[in-house]
Point group: C2
């Protein structure tokens, strides 16, 4: 179902909206009160192109929450079970953010942009307001706000080639989840080797809305022979690649351990961080359910909010994302599955709006 919505103060355009609109965007999500493109030609055509060429994505909806002040790092460490000791200005740290119960409030990439300033690049949830309340209530010396920073992603197998034409060959020396400053047109752009696809590429944290379209246009011009196009996070490719979507696959009702993010939960934080005691107990007892890649047979209706998962007539979880994958010739999906049913190879069923479909738990994502 679709409808006409005013682009207003309550649904914001981005610095790249003129580029996105002239590229013929066909659909948006509202993401952190901002337009996030979700389709250009078609989800399947966009997918095919993403895997072969290079795309420029307006992901400005991944707003930054800035924490600045003497207590900024302490506040960050308070709300993530991941040990942030290694965080420095050259590194992107994927940090599950947890409430007092260990429930996930978000799963941003954390950056250190200055000695006492950090940015969290957030999925959609009101992290800024939540942290703003916590900081005041705990008396931490930290300012919290949403800066004028808009991520632009360069994604696809030719991303290295294209990025080098703007930022120089040195940008290709960045390791995975490393970041640095690269000069172009008199600005030192913050560029990270990251992005919400498994096809490789970069995210540029564009500081100052006025710098958005010049970079967009330059990338489009420089990439003509690489068949560059406007693109967006792709609903099929991200499931194949096992990239989770906070707000869809994961909510406040799930812990990072249940989300399969145990490698980002550091034992040395569990006595001090929010929800740490719960996570420690869960780790010791073993999780009772976990997000798993599953494949689903047959021709399915468009995925809606969630589909219940059954073993016979027993409810054993729910499917949280599902798309038909042309490359793997099956429906690739992500499900929260109860412990007794999560082993690879387990055969289950799901109830869609048009009937039951066979589900098989996999040992890994597709890529």
């Amino acid at each position: 179902m679709k409808g006409i919505v005013d682009y207003s103060r309550r649904v914001r355009t981005t610095p790249f909206t003129p580029g996105v609109e002239s590229a013929g965007v066909k659909n948006y999500l509202v993401y952190n009160h901002m337009l996030l493109p979700t389709m250009f030609e078609s989800v399947e055509a966009d997918y095919r192109h993403l895997k072969q060429h290079v795309q420029i994505w307006d992901v400005a909806g991944e707003r930054q929450v800035a924490l600045k002040g003497p207590d900024a790092r302490r506040q960050l460490q308070l709300v993530t079970p991941r040990d942030c000791a290694r965080l420095d200005p050259t590194r992107c740290l994927y940090t599950p953010i947890c409430d007092q119960h260990g429930g996930m409030m978000n799963d941003p990439i954390a950056l250190q942009v200055d000695e006492d300033e950090y940015w969290l690049s957030i999925a959609p949830s009101p992290v800024e307001a939540w942290l703003y309340g916590i900081a005041a209530a705990t008396g931490m010396d930290v300012e919290i706000w949403e800066p004028d920073v808009s991520p632009l992603a360069i994604q696809g197998p030719k991303a290295d080639q294209l990025a080098a034409r703007i930022f120089g060959d040195a940008v290709n020396d960045l390791g995975f989840f490393r970041c640095g400053r690269f000069e172009w047109k008199g600005i030192n752009w913050l560029v990270a080797r990251s992005g919400w696809s498994g096809q490789g590429g970069f995210e540029v944290y564009v500081e100052g809305a006025e710098n958005g379209m010049p970079l967009w246009d330059a990338l489009m011009a420089a990439g003509k022979d690489l068949n560059v196009r406007a693109g967006c996070p792709n609903a099929i490719e991200r499931i194949e690649s096992g990239l989770l979507s906070y707000g869809g696959d994961i909510t406040r009702n799930d812990t990072p351990l249940q989300a399969g993010l145990g490698r980002y939960v550091s034992d040395n934080q569990l006595d001090t961080c929010w929800g740490g005691r719960r996570l420690k107990e869960e780790r010791e007892a073993g999780s009772t359910r976990m997000l798993r890649p599953v494949e689903i047979d047959g021709v399915l209706p468009a995925f809606s909010e969630s589909w219940p998962l059954f073993a016979g007539e027993t409810r054993v979880g729910d499917v949280r994302a599902c798309q038909y994958s042309p490359d793997f010739a099956t429906n690739v999906a992500i499900a929260m599955v109860d412990r007794d049913y999560w082993d690879a190879g387990t055969e289950l069923e799901t109830q869609t709006v048009t009937g039951r479909a066979a589900v098989k738990v996999r040992d890994a994502f597709w890529k």
Copy 2:
């Protein structure tokens, strides 16, 4: 500018959306991640009808934030400078909610729905997340969540007649900003004499999404001879009536005193509530700026985010809302105006996208 946006998990439909769509809604806002109708026939035709007849409004986007537990009232009183001592289950209390600096986080109506349970009927801002963080950080014994409650408004001069046909004549005995339970079809509906127009009427807090359309349909059927129609908060009428819009007229950068809400700031709370010290200082020193009704001459372009206000070449504030009023044959507007320029009768200018326009400060709103 308008665009196609998916109605997804991130932009929610309401229990009344089927009614709104079949009534031919022409435009929506996204309000607390939910669709809020903003126009049916035209803003001017909707306005004319609202002032003569009766309308049913889907204002489900005014989500409720529930606070329940032994510390629920204490937490509410901590974040509002309004003394809540009088709050009981028969009363609606308009409560400016403030951060640690006295800045407004929201301006809900507070209801007490049970001995230890309160609902805040919020304008768009992430109050739930903010309070959720504060409660955990301060160790208050309170649960905070968004319940399945969707306000439906009955507004207009014939609202009393229509409401009585469903809820019985006793509903007309409700005083302004009083509420009570009224039985219809086996449910005790929570009905308040309130609403975001100056035309009179009620708001029904519909508990349970499944109860939405039965009530909608019954009101529509019962009001045929009253010329009932689907309507929505009206951009013109609400300015005439001096009803402020949080997120538009007021933001976190404004105190309740600056918003002209001094009568809701209780001296006896300023030593203990968040931002109280700042509000006390501001009250003692006098505010340096305040929201004022202003009228603007001429044929103006559609109002955008804000227009700067000038006295000669001196910037003295900004216009925050402006609509042409057919009934008053002028542009009715709300502006934040610096102290030296806020007296009624002061002549100023504003800079619109098409040029300067003459502005006059008024002593009161229009109605």
